[in-house]
């Protein structure tokens, strides 16, 4: 993950008005290029969930108020519900499905299981995408910092203390 990764596949899609009918776009998700036909109003979240069957990013509010849809665009954690899919052309999108191979989970995924950092699991992919970024950003220094910088991810089951424990465990491994 890099803070401001270079655009991988920037295409010359500029200066041409597209839509409102569906347009063919190319999205690079988890290292794979996907072509899909979407209206410009389609969010990155709906493109992932409804068009690419990548349902790991969750729709919790569709209003930018819960963090369940957290994914990375060029390595930075963002909210997929407030991002239009079309704006992600030429950028690399990473979702929970691309975080680690199934056979070898990311240390934070293991830590979430071990520390029981979730109950219903619906906010969990967003929590993990946010938490991995948090550690890389250097914002996991102490609990006060983790609390503040993880507050964009609501867990209604309120597993927060266990989420912090999982983050601490992985932070201290490295």
């Amino acid at each position: 993950m890099s803070a401001t990764g270079p655009a991988l596949t920037r295409r010359d899609t500029t200066a041409v008005e597209r839509g409102p009918d569906p347009v063919r776009i190319t999205l690079s998700v988890n290292g794979t290029e996907h072509s899909l036909d979407v209206e410009p109003r389609v969010s990155l979240l709906d493109a992932l969930r409804e068009h690419l069957d990548l349902t790991g990013a969750k729709k919790g509010c569709d209003q930018g108020t819960c963090g369940a849809c957290t994914v990375w665009v060029d390595g930075r954690r963002v909210l997929a519900c407030l991002t239009l899919a079309l704006t992600c052309e030429g950028h690399e999108v990473t979702t929970i499905e691309g975080l680690a191979p199934e056979a070898e989970p990311h240390p934070l995924q293991r830590a979430f299981v071990e520390h029981d950092a979730f109950q219903c699991g619906y906010c969990t992919p967003g929590q993990i995408m946010s938490a991995v970024a948090l550690i890389e950003e250097g914002h996991a220094g102490d609990d006060a910092e983790i609390k503040e910088w993880m507050s964009g991810n609501i867990c209604r089951c309120a597993a927060y203390p266990n989420i912090r424990a999982a983050i601490r465990a992985v932070r201290d491994q490295t």
């Binding site: 009918d21 209206e39 109003r41 389609v42 709906d46 969930r49 409804e50 069957d53 990548l54 349902t55 790991g56 990013a57 969750k58 729709k59 919790g60 509010c61 569709d62 209003q63 930018g64 108020t65 819960c66 369940a68 979702t95 929970i96 499905e97 680690a100 199934e102 989970p105 995924q109 979430f112 299981v113 071990e114 029981d116 979730f118 109950q119 219903c120 699991g121 619906y122 906010c123 969990t124 992919p125 993990i128 983790i146 609390k147 503040e148 993880m150 507050s151 964009g152 991810n153 609501i154 867990c155 209604r156 089951c157 309120a158 597993a159 927060y160 203390p161 266990n162 989420i163 912090r164």
Partner: protein, 745 residues
């Protein structure tokens, strides 16, 4: 009786579905890939009271991709409106006895008045905005202030389960006898559940067969409710709900959307996904009602209660007498000769309120436990000492002994872990910089819910020595798949890694909706019954089989461990038995019949809550610094998942105490908060570390494994402990929930 050596039950095992959840592979009800999916959007009424006089759908219908606009002219009538009965009863369980889009009356803002179905989500949502709806509007009644004078005392509340008034002794006399009385009126903002996953149903017809993927606390409840509403046989409806993204009561009753999704799918001849928006979650799945409670306590100078009066006023819908049962626990958990509890309701323009975590106790115990704190203060008694002086080993309402209690241990261990001893009771005496520090405590209690129906599960052992145990229940975060694998493992005498729990499907044996903290108790009872029945069947088969090393052994002396049946020196594994007898598997159904409702015991879960708060002396900001909860939930099936659920409940109590509020705009009858930006739930920064202490108590009355449940008790009393801590910090008794800055500056 054969035996196993329990080794799995109680262990803090990691969740068996953990990796499915952390990897994003777990599929929730809106995430089932079905070809040719269409999307339904519910159109809610803009007005809160009156009539729909017309809907012009022409612009919506002209939109690209719109498949249908369904209004009361085009949506079919329901076959039958089932009565409102809590889903725990194991019958049809509509959230209210009004089904929308049947006539032109508008009872509440957001009431569905039409459905738009389109080939994409975006098209359905936009087309819905294009409907031109005309209304005839009448002034709504939604708030306590508007409805107070219209109130009546209902005969029964809560789906008919609870009387509107109950009394013992003579409260007036009890108050006359009292040396000290305290009297307080507590007000509560309305609360919304707001699970992170909004309710969703995906509906698919195959001829006359209906398949629903539903986010629900009870797949059977969905099946029965939709069957009655649509008038189609139970045998034609299958409901699946493998993963549910939280509920907290919002998915305990079966609201209109699963049935609307089925109707929409039939109308357009395609599978339909109906995913409520976050905004719609405020008007579609019930809520905890705004309320006012008055508690009057009388006590002797020694701190013995002489009278408890607990009254409640709240709005209900135009069709149901619903109030969460807030005043009943006050009659049960303290020794006191005189009690009066009563509800008053008024008809308001809202949907029927519903269960929300610790329904009744979360609000009722707040008022009671704050009142006790006040009484302790008046009497100069330590708050725990006051509670101990009124401690009862019997249900004070019925006189029946508790099936189990553990409350004294909860006080002791909780106080010990929290460091309660030596607390200076004087308010406003601890200060750290700008922060005033205070501590408070409260009792927690939550009834063990009465069940009506037999609960069933099925256990199947394969010849390779692995087992599948099945029951219909879905998992909405409780950890049921993990816990039931543990229960099954001990019942069968297998390693837990050899047992898989399969659930979330009406094709599996029935289980009532997992509500009222009853899930773990009833499901473990059925699973235990199925697993032990299968074990007996296999042991009996071995000892009767001349080919078995166990032939002739006394089945009572056969012990099973890791899948091997042993009697003295003889042994045979389950696998060997099945393979030798050419059986691919063996199966048994277990059934548990819940105790009768008139069982001569009081059945209650207890706990003790402690909180330390810091209140900014100038700015009125309250932050909770630490919390301890000690709970006696009977037997704990998995210490890890149980602690998590209790911790979550305690943090819900924090939200209830300090953040969570919705209000009706009195003029429009709209909720003023309809997003997670406005309806504030705790975020990570609000949540202190939480200390959960488990006190196991044996209980052979409630169910076979003595499980009393952990879903609700964690929340009960927390708001009182926090409010009492705020009083200790500031000297101010705030009788309003949530407690906010304006109350403290």
């Amino acid at each position: 009786m054969t035996a196993t050596i329990p080794s799995a039950t109680g262990q803090p095992l990691d969740r068996v579905d953990g990796y499915a959840k952390v990897s994003g592979r777990a599929r929730y009800s809106a995430e089932i890939p079905i070809p040719d999916m269409a999307y339904a959007y519910v159109v809610g009424s803009r007005i809160a009271a009156g009539r729909v006089t017309g809907i012009d759908a022409s612009a919506a219908q002209a939109e690209e991709g719109v498949l249908a606009v369904l209004t009361r002219q085009t949506l079919p009538r329901i076959a039958e409106q089932p009565p409102l009965i809590p889903s725990l009863a194991g019958t049809a369980a509509p959230g209210q006895t009004f089904f929308p889009v049947q006539d032109d009356t508008v009872h509440y803002a957001g009431q569905p008045i039409a459905l738009v179905v389109a080939d994409t989500w975006e098209r359905a949502q936009h087309a819905a905005r294009l409907l031109r709806v005309s209304y005839e509007e009448t002034p709504p009644v939604t708030t306590l202030d508007q409805g107070r004078d219209l109130a009546y005392e209902p005969e029964r509340i809560f789906g008919g389960w609870i009387p509107g008034r109950s009394e013992r002794g003579d409260v007036a006399a009890g108050l006359r006898e009292a040396d000290v009385t305290v009297d307080g009126t507590y007000t509560y903002a309305a609360n919304n559940h707001n699970p992170l996953e909004a309710s969703c149903t995906t509906a698919q017809w195959d001829g006359d067969d209906l398949l629903l993927y539903d986010a629900t606390q009870g797949v059977n409840a969905t099946q029965m409710t939709v069957s009655r509403l649509l008038g189609i046989p139970m045998s034609r409806i299958r409901v699946i709900g493998h993963y549910v993204g939280g509920s907290f009561g919002s998915k305990a009753m079966i609201h209109a959307h699963p049935t609307l999704a089925a109707m929409a799918a039939r109308a357009v001849g395609r599978p339909v996904k109906l995913f409520l928006t976050r905004e719609q979650m405020f008007t579609s799945v019930g809520h905890r009602e705004e309320q006012e409670q008055q508690v009057t306590l009388g006590a002797t100078r020694e701190g013995r209660l002489t009278a408890i009066r607990h009254l409640k006023l709240s709005p209900t819908s135009h069709f149901d007498d619903w109030a969460e049962p807030s005043v009943g626990t006050s009659s049960q958990i303290y020794a006191c000769p005189h009690y009066e509890g009563a509800y008053r309701l008024f008809r308001a323009n809202t949907m029927t309120p519903t269960f929300m975590r610790a329904p009744g106790e979360a609000s009722g115990m707040h008022a009671l436990e704050c009142s006790l704190d006040e009484l302790a203060h008046e009497l100069g008694l330590d708050p725990i000492e006051l509670r101990l002086r009124n401690h009862t080993e019997v249900d004070a309402m019925t006189g029946h002994p508790w099936s189990s209690s553990g409350l004294r241990e909860c006080y002791e261990r909780g106080a010990d872990r929290f460091g309660w001893a030596g607390r200076d009771p004087r308010p406003g005496t601890r200060r750290e910089g700008d922060w005033l520090i205070g501590t408070g405590m409260a009792t927690a209690s939550y009834p063990v819910a009465p069940l009506a129906n037999p609960q069933r599960a099925r256990a199947r052992l394969y010849a390779d020595g692995t087992a599948v145990v099945q029951a219909a229940t879905p998992d909405f975060g409780t950890g049921v798949a993990t816990v039931m694998a543990q229960v099954a493992a001990d019942g069968l005498g297998l390693g837990v890694d050899r047992c898989r729990f399969e659930s979330g499907d009406t094709d599996l044996p029935n289980i009532a909706a997992a509500v009222g903290s009853a899930g773990a108790g009833m499901i473990s009872a059925a699973v235990h019954s199925a697993a032990t029945a299968l074990r007996r069947q296999l042991v009996d088969s071995a000892v009767a089989d001349p080919g078995s090393p166990l032939f002739g052994a006394d089945p009572v002396r056969v012990v099973v461990r890791d899948g091997v049946m042993t009697a003295g020196a003889a042994s045979e594994s389950y696998s060997d038995l099945l393979r030798r007898t050419l059986r691919p598997d063996a199966e048994a159904v277990g059934q548990w019949n819940p105790p009768a409702h008139d069982v001569p015991y009081g059945m209650m879960t207890f706990g003790a809550q402690f909180a330390e708060v810091a209140v900014d002396a100038d700015l009125g900001v309250v932050r909770v610094r630490r919390m301890t909860g000690a709970f006696a939930p009977g037997r704990v099936l998995n210490a890890k998942t149980a602690r998590s659920q209790l911790m979550g409940g305690m943090l819900w109590g924090l939200g209830q105490a300090l953040l969570e509020a919705n209000h009706m705009d009195p003029d429009t009858g709209h909720w003023v908060s309809s997003s997670l930006g406005e309806y504030l739930v705790p975020v990570n920064a609000d949540a202190p570390d939480v200390d959960v202490e488990l006190i196991e108590v044996e209980d052979d009355v409630v169910n076979p494994l003595g499980v009393k449940g952990v879903g609700e008790i964690g929340q009960v009393g927390v708001s009182a402990a926090i409010a009492n801590a705020v009083h200790h910090a500031t000297g101010r008794r705030i009788r309003e929930l949530p407690i906010t800055i304006e109350d403290l500056i």
